[in-house]
Every structure is written in structure tokens, then in C-alpha cells.
């Protein structure tokens, strides 16, 4: 009986035209945009080294760091909330790693765990205030944006007398947790490829690119996990429900407040991850790190097809949104165009994406 029904479902599903089905996927716009952007730069910057291994790794790494933020920002936005404190949280988490290590001699791994602990707390506070007061999260986290940035600068100058904390590399060497954030993966493979002459090498025979930065693996891994959670778990269904209509969700027993608080903790932890990657890769922390990242993340999410009003979106879309963002940012550099024009492009792209998303939503709810 069950199999008969299942077969019938399949039969009927095939009747839906391919285009209709594609159009109802939130990530379609971002994927189409990615193809366009790649085609554009392949023509304009094809010979500039942008698509050499080093160039590809570079724009993937830029995309990956933004992508990590965007995935979590997307989950939160689907649940109907924003987190504008993400950028400040990056700076805060960065000094939360750097100060204990350089000033108090903590092992790097404890400092990293400490930073994640701080992120959980900040996310919880953001979420708790938002759900308990019923204020728009836009305002609550806007306050967070200023408070956290102010704390970062104030505490850092109070404790170290400056706003930059360099020299973390000498502490992170040999630390067991640090390679998880600041290293390159598949180094052996790259050396082997270089030895065969299949990839570019430095004059001394070492590969020009030492490996795949772990941030790229984090990005892909988190996107995959978030997609699975969103589409294939109860929690994922609750995320959609919270953003779609929180009263309706509450009436059928969805723990709306808990879901939102968990997602605020998620965005704060994404910021801490971003901070850990940057601090351990570059060996320094800066109180200005993460400036404007909250908006870049929202841009990637919106380009990725998630609705600002919540209730609809994906985790894959924002990954492509971040890829577009990173590719354009680096691509403009490679084409030799003044990088001042980058922001104009980003602004126009956001507007086009939102108009497109709006059209999709209309199709979703009106077409039969």
C-alpha cells in the first residue's frame, strides 16, 4: 500500500515542469548569478591569473570566510530575525583569543574555547532580549553592534594600551586546536602535485599554494550541515515555522523562543569561528576586525534567495551569495578596475536580488 502510494507520488511529481520546480527553489537566483559572474570574469580577467590555482584559492578563501557568517545569518533570517552584531562580535572574539594568550599566557586552545564561550553568551543575550521584549532584533542587535565594538576597543586599550595585538603565531605553534582554524589542508597532496609539475611552484620547488585553507572546508561543511538541518530535521521545520508566522507556530507547539535563541547563538559562534580563523591565520588580532561584515553577510544571504521577512530561504543559496561576493571582490582587483567601484556593484546586485526574490515569492504563493 505504502509503496503503491509512493509510486503514485513519483509519477505525479514528474508532471511538474522542470522550470517551475527550479523556480520554486530559493537558491536558483544565486546559482544563476554565480554562473554569470564567472562567465563575466572568464572573459574580462581570463588571462590575468584570476583563474590560476592561486587566484582560485584566494577568491574561494574570501568567499569562505563570508560564507561561514552567511550560512548562520541565513538560518536566523529564515526564522525571522537579524543579527547586526556579527561584525562587532568578530572583533570581540578576536581579542578574546588574543588577550588571554599574549597577556596572561593561556594556551591557545583554551583561549579559543573561551572566545566561543563568550560568543554563546552574547548570542544568548541577543536572543533572550529579542524574544522576551518582542522588540525587533534589528534594534536589539544594533545596540549589540555598538556595545561590542566599544567593549572591544575599550578593553583592549585598557589592558594592552593599544588596539592591535600581534605575535600570536609563536604561541599557536604546536597547539593542538589551532590547526583546525588557521592552517592549510591537504598539504601533502599539494607537494606531490607540485613535484609532478601539475601545479605552479615557487622557485625552491615548493607548491605556490601550500594547500586548501581550512576556512574553505569549514564553509563547505557548515553549508552542508545547515542544509541538512533545514530540510531534513524537525528543528529545520521549526526554523521555517518561526519565520513564517510565529503565532501559528507557537499555537501548534513549536518552541519559538528556544529556536530563535539557538540561532542567535549560532550567528555569534559563526563570528567567533571567523575570528579564530583570522587570528590564527594572520597571527594577530585587531579591534577593527569584522567591520561591516554583518551587512556583507546579510547581502550574501539576500543574494542567496532568503527572504528578509523570514519563512523562506536556504543554506546553499547564501553559500553561492558569498561566492559571488568573494569572486567579484577579487575579480575587480584582477581586472585592474579601480576597486572603489566594487561597492557600486554590490549595491546594484543586492537590489536586483531582492527584486528577483520578491517575484519568486509571488509565484510561490499565487500560482497554482
Amino acid at each position: 500500500m505504502a509503496s503503491v502510494t509512493a509510486n503514485r507520488v513519483d509519477e505525479r511529481l514528474q508532471q511538474a515542469p522542470l522550470l517551475t520546480r527550479l523556480l520554486s527553489r530559493p537558491e536558483l537566483g544565486a546559482i544563476a548569478g554565480t554562473v554569470l559572474v564567472f562567465a563575466f570574469f572568464a572573459v574580462v580577467a581570463g588571462g590575468s591569473g584570476m583563474f590560476s590555482l592561486k587566484g582560485v584559492i584566494t577568491f574561494l578563501e574570501v568567499s569562505a570566510q563570508l560564507g561561514i557568517l552567511a550560512v548562520f545569518a541565513s538560518l536566523l533570517m529564515i526564522a525571522g530575525e537579524f543579527d547586526l552584531s556579527v561584525g562587532s562580535m568578530i572583533g570581540f572574539a578576536g581579542v578574546a583569543i588574543a588577550i588571554p594568550v599574549t597577556l596572561y599566557g593561556w594556551p591557545v586552545w583554551t583561549a579559543v574555547l573561551f572566545a566561543f564561550g563568550v560568543a554563546v553568551l552574547v548570542g544568548y543575550v541577543n536572543g533572550y532580549i529579542t524574544v522576551k521584549t518582542g522588540l525587533p532584533s534589528f534594534i536589539v542587535t544594533l545596540a549589540g553592534l555598538f556595545v561590542l565594538r566599544g567593549l572591544t576597543i575599550g578593553l583592549t586599550r585598557l589592558l594592552t594600551g593599544r588596539t592591535q595585538i600581534p605575535g600570536i603565531h609563536k604561541f599557536s605553534e604546536g597547539d593542538w586546536l589551532a590547526p583546525l582554524f588557521g592552517s592549510d589542508a591537504f598539504k601533502g597532496l599539494f607537494v606531490w602535485l607540485a613535484a609532478r609539475g601539475w601545479i605552479d611552484t615557487l622557485p625552491n620547488g615548493a607548491p605556490a599554494v601550500p594547500g586548501i585553507p581550512v576556512s574553505i572546508l569549514w564553509w563547505l561543511g557548515l553549508t552542508a550541515v545547515a542544509t541538512w538541518v533545514l530540510l531534513r530535521t524537525r528543528f529545520g521545520n521549526w526554523i521555517f515555522a518561526c519565520g513564517g508566522d510565529k503565532n501559528a507556530a507557537r499555537n501548534v507547539g513549536v518552541p519559538v523562543d528556544r529556536v530563535k535563541i539557538i540561532l542567535f547563538i549560532g550567528t555569534a559562534c559563526a563570528a567567533a569561528l571567523f575570528a579564530a580563523i583570522q587570528v590564527l591565520k594572520f597571527g594577530s588580532a585587531d579591534t577593527q576586525r569584522g567591520l561591516l561584515k554583518e551587512f556583507e553577510a546579510i547581502i550574501a544571504v539576500v543574494i542567496g534567495g532568503t527572504l528578509l521577512t523570514g519563512g523562506y530561504g536556504s543554506a546553499i543559496g547564501p553559500a553561492f551569495g558569498a561566492l559571488i561576493f568573494g569572486t567579484v571582490q577579487m575579480g575587480i582587483f584582477y581586472t585592474g578596475v579601480d576597486t572603489d567601484w566594487f561597492k557600486v556593484f554590490v549595491g546594484v546586485m543586492v537590489l536586483v536580488a531582492v527584486i528577483f526574490n520578491n517575484y519568486i515569492r509571488k509565484r510561490m504563493t499565487e500560482a497554482r
Partner: protein
């Protein structure tokens, strides 16, 4: 089959919001297998009463017995767990989510264990399709957004969901008020189905015709008090109508009804044949409703002449 005790026994419920008395001393009983219509004009206290029954509000005084046991709900979820499901006017449906996701919202079936416990999408899709088919709505793809369904179909999904999850009492808040005649008859037919499954149904409406088509008992509320509960055999539509309207506004009502009837007649003229329209039952209910509107108009006309 005569049940020994009512499913729900509301005893002398009062509810105040500050200085406003929304309900004062309301009592009613709901038995399994009956449709109990709660009628009343705007502000009569219908919404407060059902919100009290469904756990949104707590009564200021009086008590509610469920299967003979006194109960006090703290949230709609509490009431839901005890088998009282309310389909609110706003439907508790999320237009951008799929039928399946809406159907199982908050009660998703899962498979697997530990961190790999996941939403059993295949089972959910199959059940949603089957349940929708039972109520006569053929869904091609249960993963299509609820926003693509018509208003009546959405009501049916909400009701089907409540029934599937084992509701004993179904509270329907104005389920037909926003719907056209044909759409309304789809919902009414499903209400009759729920009754046949021995559920107790509380049907809130200010539309006497819809209520009369499915109701077994009628409780009329006016300004926070009951004007009484009546069996279908004890009362006539026109009595119910004049009770709801409070008598003095009868003439205005009569004029309104005429207007409705004209609109209905115009719509009926342009309708496709019942066979094309689909289920004959639907058409029959729709026809009854139209006829009732016409009868009411005549009765009111008589009443008006008598008063002059």
C-alpha cells in the same frame, strides 16, 4: 450510541479583562458526535469563550470539565495535548511552507537515532497526501506551498491536521466566514465528516445559514451572556436570526439579506453545472444554503409587514 457524559462541560464561566466583562456566567456542553454552533454578533464574547476553551485565556471564575475532569490550560499546546484542537481564524497555516511541513508543524515524524534523527519526509508526504485525499482534496504535490491552495482548502488542511493528531474536540473559529458559497460548502461537508467520526465540534459563526446546515445544537451569545442553548428541533432559523440580531435591527438585516440573496442569485446564474463543478454533495449543500437565504428573506419580509 448514547455517551454517558459530555466531552466538554463549561460551567458558569466568567472572564474579565480589567473593568471589561467579556463573559459572565456562560455554560454549555458539547457531546461527542455533535456539532454545537456558537452564534452571536461581533463583541458577543464568542472569541473570548473559545480562547478560554483553547487555553489562550484562563477563566476568571467558573470551570471547564473535560470528560468529567476539571481542567485548567496554560497554553494552546496544553489544550492540544488533551485533545482540544482549535482552528483559529488566522488558520495557523504558513503560506510559504509546504502542505506537508504545515501539516506536521510541531509534530514532525522522525526516523534514525541520536544526532542522525531526522524529519521523515517520505512518511510525512505520504500521510499528508492520504489525509487530504480523505477529505476530497487531491494534492498533486504535497511539497507545494500552502499559499497555492484556496481559502477553503487551507481550512480543510487545518481541520484535517487537528483530526489526524487525535483531536476529540474541534473548535472552529469562523471557518466559513471568509469563504464563498462553494468554498464554504467544502468546509461544511468536512465538518459533517468530523461529526460522523464522533468528534465534538464547536462551530463559531455569525452566519446562521452555515451554522444551520451542519449544526445540531445552537448556543446564542449576546453581550457576554448566553441567550440559551437550543436543539435544532426546538428552534427555527428565523428565531435564531432574530435572537442574534437582537430584534430591533431586524429590518436592516432584512435589507442586507436581500442584498446577499441577489448577489447569490447572480452568482448562481453564472455558475457552471454541478457536474462540472465536481462533487454533487457540494452542490447540494450550496443549493440548500442558497435556498435558505431566500427563505429567510421571505420570513423577514413577513415579520416586517407584521410589525408595520
Amino acid at each position: 450510541m448514547a455517551p454517558a457524559r459530555p466531552l466538554i462541560d463549561v460551567q458558569d464561566i466568567s472572564k474579565q479583562f480589567g473593568s471589561v466583562i467579556a463573559l459572565s456566567g456562560v455554560s454549555m456542553t458539547v457531546w461527542p458526535g455533535e456539532v454545537h454552533c456558537l452564534l452571536g454578533d461581533n463583541g458577543a464574547g464568542k472569541s473570548t469563550l473559545i480562547k478560554t476553551l483553547s487555553g489562550v485565556h484562563q477563566p476568571s471564575s467558573g470551570r471547564i470539565l473535560l470528560d468529567g475532569e476539571p481542567i485548567l490550560f496554560n497554553s494552546p499546546r496544553d489544550a492540544l495535548d488533551r485533545g482540544i484542537a482549535t482552528v483559529f481564524q488566522d488558520l495557523a497555516m504558513i503560506p510559504l511552507m509546504s502542505i506537508t511541513r504545515n501539516f506536521f508543524m510541531g509534530r514532525e515524524p522522525t526516523k534514525g537515532f541520536g544526532p542522525f534523527r531526522r524529519f521523515d519526509v517520505e512518511t510525512a508526504n505520504r500521510v499528508a497526501r492520504e489525509e487530504m485525499q480523505k477529505i476530497g482534496i487531491d494534492v498533486r504535490d504535497p511539497s507545494q506551498a500552502v499559499g497555492t491552495l484556496s481559502g477553503g482548502e487551507r481550512q480543510c488542511v487545518a481541520i484535517a491536521r487537528a483530526v489526524y493528531f487525535g483531536a476529540k474536540v474541534l473548535i472552529l473559529d469562523e471557518p466559513t466566514s471568509a469563504l464563498g458559497v462553494k468554498q464554504a460548502s467544502v468546509v461544511l461537508r468536512y465538518v459533517a465528516q468530523a461529526r460522523a467520526r464522533n468528534l465534538g465540534v464547536i462551530f463559531i459563526s455569525h452566519n446562521v445559514h452555515h451554522a444551520w446546515a451542519v449544526g445540531d445544537k445552537f448556543t446564542v451569545l449576546n453581550r457576554g451572556k448566553t441567550l440559551g442553548t437550543f436543539d435544532k428541533s426546538q428552534i427555527t432559523r428565523e428565531q435564531l436570526l432574530s435572537m442574534m440580531a437582537g430584534g430591533k435591527e431586524l429590518e436592516q438585516l432584512g435589507a442586507e439579506l436581500e442584498e446577499f440573496a441577489r448577489a447569490d442569485a447572480a452568482r448562481a446564474g453564472g455558475r457552471e453545472s454541478p457536474l462540472e463543478a465536481g462533487a454533487a454533495a457540494e452542490a447540494a449543500i450550496a443549493a440548500t444554503l442558497r435556498q435558505e437565504v431566500a427563505e429567510d428573506r421571505e420570513l423577514l419580509e413577513v415579520e416586517r409587514r407584521r410589525r408595520h
